[in-house]
Structures are given as structure tokens and as C-alpha cells.
Symmetry: C2
Subunit: 249 residues, 2 copies
DNA sequence: TCAAAAGTGTTCTCAATACACCCATGA
DNA sequence: TCATGGGTGTATTGAGAACACTTTTGA
């Protein structure tokens, strides 16, 4: 590593290989690079997607994912963190790269490629205020509207991805409040997989992972009897992760 | 779709929103975009990586992945297909996007991001001749040499990815010749997972997938008794794929 | 008292795993 | 004849899937 840091430095090349170096880059094409975030939330028993009503051209008044151009002084992931913070106020969000969209004709305006990222966030009132200010809103994933460019394709790909990922990572907890009930967790997984799960088997499976802590409190919002609240145990999860655990529900 | 194809056309924006449109792009940064291919092969019971001895600056005489800059008139995947064809003569190769590497300091020369792709190819003599001409060579994945830039990181990430993918896709068949024996297939999976598998259980599992066809011929290269040759049944596989099959070995 | 959601156990099936010997053949 | 790799079967264990009733309580 150290060896390369030295020999590969810009100074080295400019001093010794100036012509060749310049030649090898000078005729290369440059691209606008965007980042688009597929942001999922979970509310009222439904999986939601954050979309943005564009107030500027191009595509004024059309719906789009939350996105931005990447700046020269930041990485793609830094750009996605920046844009997520701007729209939701959140930092330290679960966000992963989906893939790069780069068809020649994907943006009829300019040659631009986009690195799509998917994110899972916990919806709360504070976030919803900021979202509204920004002209963004939540839509149900079962009723995704027409979005600009190839954004609908990105959403479809992201849904496929989170279904896959959720089989071996407990991503469900990223979308729920810190305190949640098992029935709520089940509803979330049913929303992700788009199928019903057996409550007895689900409960058994989730508890067998041994990564949630039962609290004394109950949530009485969605039933009279009330359901016990649980908390995710990040500490235990980290241990399990190291031993290669499987979270398929 | 049709609606957007019409309203989002370049003409539309140039006519009606010319100023705004130009403004919104004019101040944005542009990037060199590269594609780097992590190309795996399987030979002599070992999983191999294709590396390239650079004959030009920058990084002359250092080892690198097979890569190229993306041209303005092609997508990232088109660029990776082009470069793979150039170096191996192969088309229709199993190749998937790994991820985008875009750290600000990843290339000390210029601001350049790279979309890494991993590919699985069937090694044969013809390919090896071309590879040699191009100054590339196979290295054992257990002894990956120092590569330029962040290419070692790409290789590590790609290995993790193929281990994951191989649990639910029969990628092994991409790396073997059209006709292969079960012991060879097992060696390949042992190379991917870096652990020994039980031959009885492996055979049982593989045959239970019901996607390989037993041939009458035997391969006597690696044993006196000889091992029956098999062929992958693409047709049956496609059917299974639709029903969401799991190929974990 | 009843509607609505929470919570609980058992059985069956099937796949994963562990494990050891005989077979065919060329050298 | 023997060394080398190929090929086979069974028993055990554990996880997944199917399945129905009781509990709690506010309206």
C-alpha cells in the first residue's frame, strides 16, 4: 500500500511521464454523475417510498426520486449521505448501493449516469415536517406513480434487492421505531415479501434469533389487549453477524 | 412510459426551458468513468483471477485488473463487454456489476470513478493465447499480488460477492467447460468457499437440483477409473429459476 | 358481551449432516 | 497388485410449515 501511494502520486507522474500521462487521459470522455436514493419507510402497516415533486426544470412538476449530482470533491456515497440529510435531516441511515444506471439514452437532456442507492429509514413526525417543506412525500409501494427517467426501474430493482437482503440481514429493524411490537414487525415483513406469514411461526423464528429484548411496556394503539414492545439488541446482533448468521423469516 | 418519452425529449427542453435547463447542468462537475473487470476462471482445481501487466503509463509495469474508460457513446456494461471481448475474445459472458468505487483520493492522477464488474469465464487454450498476447495472466486467488489503486479491494469484494451469489445461483457452471465431471464441480465449489465438502452429500445435492445431464462419456484425465461427464441443462434451469429455486451447496 | 388483535404448542415432513466402504483401472 | 480417484446408502438431527384455540380488554 505504502509503496503504491508513493509511486502513484500525481507529482511523480507529472514530473516523469507528463506527456504520456496527459495523453492517456486527455482524450477520455467525462460524465455527469448523479446519485438517486430509493428511500423506504414503513408507516401504518405499509411499506412506503419517498418521492419528490420537482420544483425546477428539467422535469418541473414531475415526480422523481431524491437525487443530486455528485460533486468533484465527494464520493458517490458522500453525495448520497448529503442528499439524504438535506431531505430528511437524518444521518447514520442504513443505505447501500443498488447499481449504476448508465444507458446512453437514459437522460434525454445530457449524458449522465446515476448510481442508485437504497435506504431504510424510521418515519416520524419531525421527518415528515421536513419532507413536506422540501416538496417530497411518501407513496405506498403498491401504488408507485410514474417517475421521471428510469426511476421506476430503480424502484423495482431496489424492491427486489431488499427482499433478497432481508433473507440474511435483519433490515426490518431499520424501518421500525426503536420500540416495536412483534405484530408490527410481522406486518413489515409481510409488506416486504408481499405475502402473509403465519404469526406463530414468525414469532418463533424471530425470537429464536435472540436479538430482540422484551420490554415491560405494552403498545395499546392497535389493539385493546395491547402487544408487548421489544427493542433490537445491536450488541448481540454484532456478535451473531461475525458468526455468519442467517435471518431468513 | 410513452407520455414521458414525449415530454422528456431533448427538443422539448431546448425549446421551452432552454435557460433553466442549461443552468441546472452547466455548473455541475464531470468525471472520468472507468470500468474494471474482476475476471474469474477455474483451472487445475484452482480459482484464478485475470490480471494485466500494464505496458503504458500511468502505472507502467504494475499489475492491474482489466479495465478501460467508458466512452460517451456506451453504457458502463457495454464498456465492460467491449473490454472483455478485447482481452479474451469472449462474448455472452456471465458478468455482473459489483459496485462503484469513487473515493476522492482513489486515483492520485485524476478524479475518476470506477464501476467494477465481476465475470466468470471458461478458460481454454484459445483464450489463453489471446490473454498472453495482451500481457495478461492468471493468478491463483489464494495468492493475489499487489495491484494498482483500489483493485485489491475490488477483488476481495468480488470474492465475497461470488460466495454469496453461489448460494442461490448455479454460477459454478459458468466457470467449467461445457462437459465436466462431478468431482471437478466439487473442486470448484471448494475453491469458491475455501473449505472441503463431503463428496456424497455434494453429489446428492447437485443431482437433486436436476439441472445436469449425465453423458455416456467418461473423463479419464484425472483418474484411471474415469468420471462420468455431465452437461448443464439450461432449459431446465430456466424453468426452475422462475419458480425461485435455491442452489446452496 | 362481543369484536378485534395478541399470544401460545404440537405434529409432520424434509433437507442437512455425518459417516465408511467397494469399484475400476492404468501403471 | 496396488495406488488413485470415483461412486454409493443410511441414520440422525434440526428447521420449516401447517394448523386452531384461548386471552385480554375497551367499546
Amino acid at each position: 500500500m505504502f509503496f503504491f501511494a508513493y509511486f502513484a502520486s500525481r507529482t511523480f507522474f507529472l514530473q516523469t511521464n507528463n506527456t504520456l500521462f496527459m495523453d492517456s487521459y486527455a482524450d477520455k470522455d467525462k460524465f455527469y454523475v448523479a446519485v438517486d436514493c430509493i428511500i423506504f419507510g414503513f408507516d401504518n402497516g405499509k411499506l412506503k417510498l419517498l418521492v419528490f415533486n420537482r420544483k425546477i426544470d428539467p422535469y418541473r412538476n414531475l415526480l422523481s426520486l431524491i437525487g443530486s449530482f455528485v460533486k468533484i470533491g465527494e464520493s458517490v456515497s458522500e453525495a448520497s449521505v448529503r442528499i439524504l440529510k438535506e431531505f430528511t435531516g437524518l444521518e447514520n441511515v442504513y443505505m447501500k448501493e443498488l447499481k449504476t444506471y448508465s444507458s446512453v439514452d437514459r437522460d434525454p437532456g445530457y449524458r449522465c449516469l446515476s448510481v442508485a442507492q437504497y435506504a431504510l429509514i424510521r418515519i416520524n413526525d419531525e421527518i415528515n415536517v421536513l419532507i413536506k417543506e422540501k416538496g417530497a412525500k411518501w407513496v405506498d409501494i403498491e401504488e408507485i406513480p410514474q417517475l421521471i427517467l428510469d426511476h421506476n426501474e430503480m424502484v423495482t430493482d431496489a424492491l427486489i434487492r431488499i427482499r433478497k437482503i432481508s433473507r440474511y440481514k435483519p433490515i426490518g429493524f431499520e424501518l421500525l421505531p426503536q420500540k416495536f411490537t412483534i405484530p408490527k414487525l410481522q406486518m413489515l415483513y409481510e409488506a416486504i415479501y408481499q405475502r402473509e406469514l403465519d404469526s406463530r411461526n414468525f414469532r418463533k423464528k424471530i425470537l429464536s434469533f435472540d436479538v430482540i429484548i422484551k420490554l415491560e411496556e405494552k403498545d395499546r394503539v392497535s389493539s385493546k389487549k395491547g402487544a408487548y414492545l421489544y427493542q433490537f439488541d445491536h450488541h448481540k446482533y454484532k456478535k451473531l453477524q461475525k458468526s455468519g448468521y442467517n435471518f431468513e423469516v
